[in-house]
């Protein structure tokens, strides 16, 4: 079949003929058997191509399907991995918290078990100065456990009146008020001065401050010093705590 006739048949079968052209072609079809046979053969061929086209389209959709399913699966895997990462992080956090709580719990128990504010009394004089009154008031507040107010009174005293006993009371008051660095610094004054009466007390309360503020190593060093000194303040307790911390 000539190319021209094939093109005409294609135009007819693909619906690409203008109305006049179509009318003329259909008239020819009625008269020309060869043309009618050509159209029939071509129609069959186009049906084959349709099948081929359907198959190719199906192949394309299948390719998209494979790729999309892989992506969906990867996304699901990523979501699972992300979930597992979060779960692992939470688990790690819980585990870490558990061990932290476990490691802190004994210290908290140690502090509660072994800590006791030192009983200090600041006697009154009948005809005292105003500073004496302040000191008496501070002593009373300290004895009653009003440490914040006691500190206000202690700190109102002139430097000339501050002695080792007052510094010990101030150190303990700072500890009780949660002002740990002030407690450490104030008690350190007694240690540095090697106060014959209160140096051991100062070491003990510094150790208590470190325990309270979770500074295990610093507490251990002080407790070891206390345990090593003969007849030091709370020597036995220091040894017990060291055993517990081990």
């Amino acid at each position: 079949m000539k190319e021209h006739m094939e093109n005409q048949i294609d135009a007819y079968l693909l619906g690409r003929m203008q109305s006049d052209e179509l009318k003329e072609f259909e008239n020819r079809l009625l008269r020309d058997k060869e043309l009618a046979q050509g159209v029939e053969t071509r129609r069959q061929l186009l049906q084959y191509i349709d099948t081929i086209g359907e198959a190719a389209l199906k192949n394309r959709v299948q390719a998209v399907h494979q790729s999309a399913k892989k992506t969906l699966s990867t996304n699901r895997t990523h979501k699972t991995v992300r979930f597992l990462k979060y779960a692992a992080a939470v688990l790690t956090l819980i585990t870490a918290s558990y061990f932290l709580m476990r490691s802190l719990a004994p210290k908290q128990n140690i502090y509660d078990t072994y800590y006791q504010a030192y009983d200090l009394s600041f006697g009154t004089r009948e005809e005292g100065s105003s500073d004496d009154e302040v000191l008496t008031l501070a002593g009373r507040l300290y004895s009653n456990g009003n440490y914040v107010e006691a500190l206000q009174q202690f700190n109102a005293l002139p430097d000339s009146l501050i002695n080792a006993k007052i510094n010990l009371a101030k150190g303990i008051s700072y500890l009780e008020s949660g002002q740990y660095s002030n407690a450490i610094a104030t008690l350190q004054l007694l240690i540095d001065a090697k106060d014959p009466v209160y140096e051991g007390h100062a070491r003990w309360y510094q150790a208590m401050t470190y325990i309270k503020s979770n500074k295990r190593m610093e507490a251990k060093i002080l407790l070891q010093q206390i345990a090593a000194e003969s007849e030091s303040f709370n020597q036995q307790q220091a040894k017990e705590i060291l055993d517990l911390l081990e």
Binding site: E6, Y48, D50, E54, A55, K58
Partner: protein, 193 residues
Amino acid sequence: MDRLSDDLLIEKLKSTVYTDNDEAMSFLYKVMYRKVAYFIQKNKGTEQDADDIFQDALIALYKLSKADRLQSVNNVQAYFFSICKNLWYKTLKKNQKITGLTEEHHLLPEVEVPMQAILSKEKNQLLNQLLGNLGEQCKQILIHYYYERLKMKEIKKLMNFSSEQVTKNKKFACMKKLKEIINANPSLEALLK
């Protein structure tokens, strides 16, 4: 992949560029596959059934877009889901898993279900094997011209031919080659009928 509006989705489905079609189909997979799979699995189907129905529905939607029959659709995703449901109900009925159609089924859009036109995997493999001699370029020219009804100008552009005349000549030669292959393989003729 960014979210596609209905207009853009239809435009990409209609496009003569295959990568545009693939993008639209991939988008539908992303947003619709789980919903369709859930529906089918809740209605006596399997994941494989869901895969098959989804693909058939994609082909149906693709053809509707090519025939300009999606312009009046308000929500393409909802419409696509209806096609999936319709195809699944028909499959169930065909397999006699349901005795009657539901009320909802009558409300679903009637689409040309491509299942009959689609070859089984085995037949498809045989067809590809026999048409291997035709060559990929010839196969594509014939599909573009006769199946997709593209114009010579569009085919020339898509396939990077130097002129429309060259494209016409190629098409003529490919058609001749296809006739020879079919005449030489009576089994292929029977398969394609």
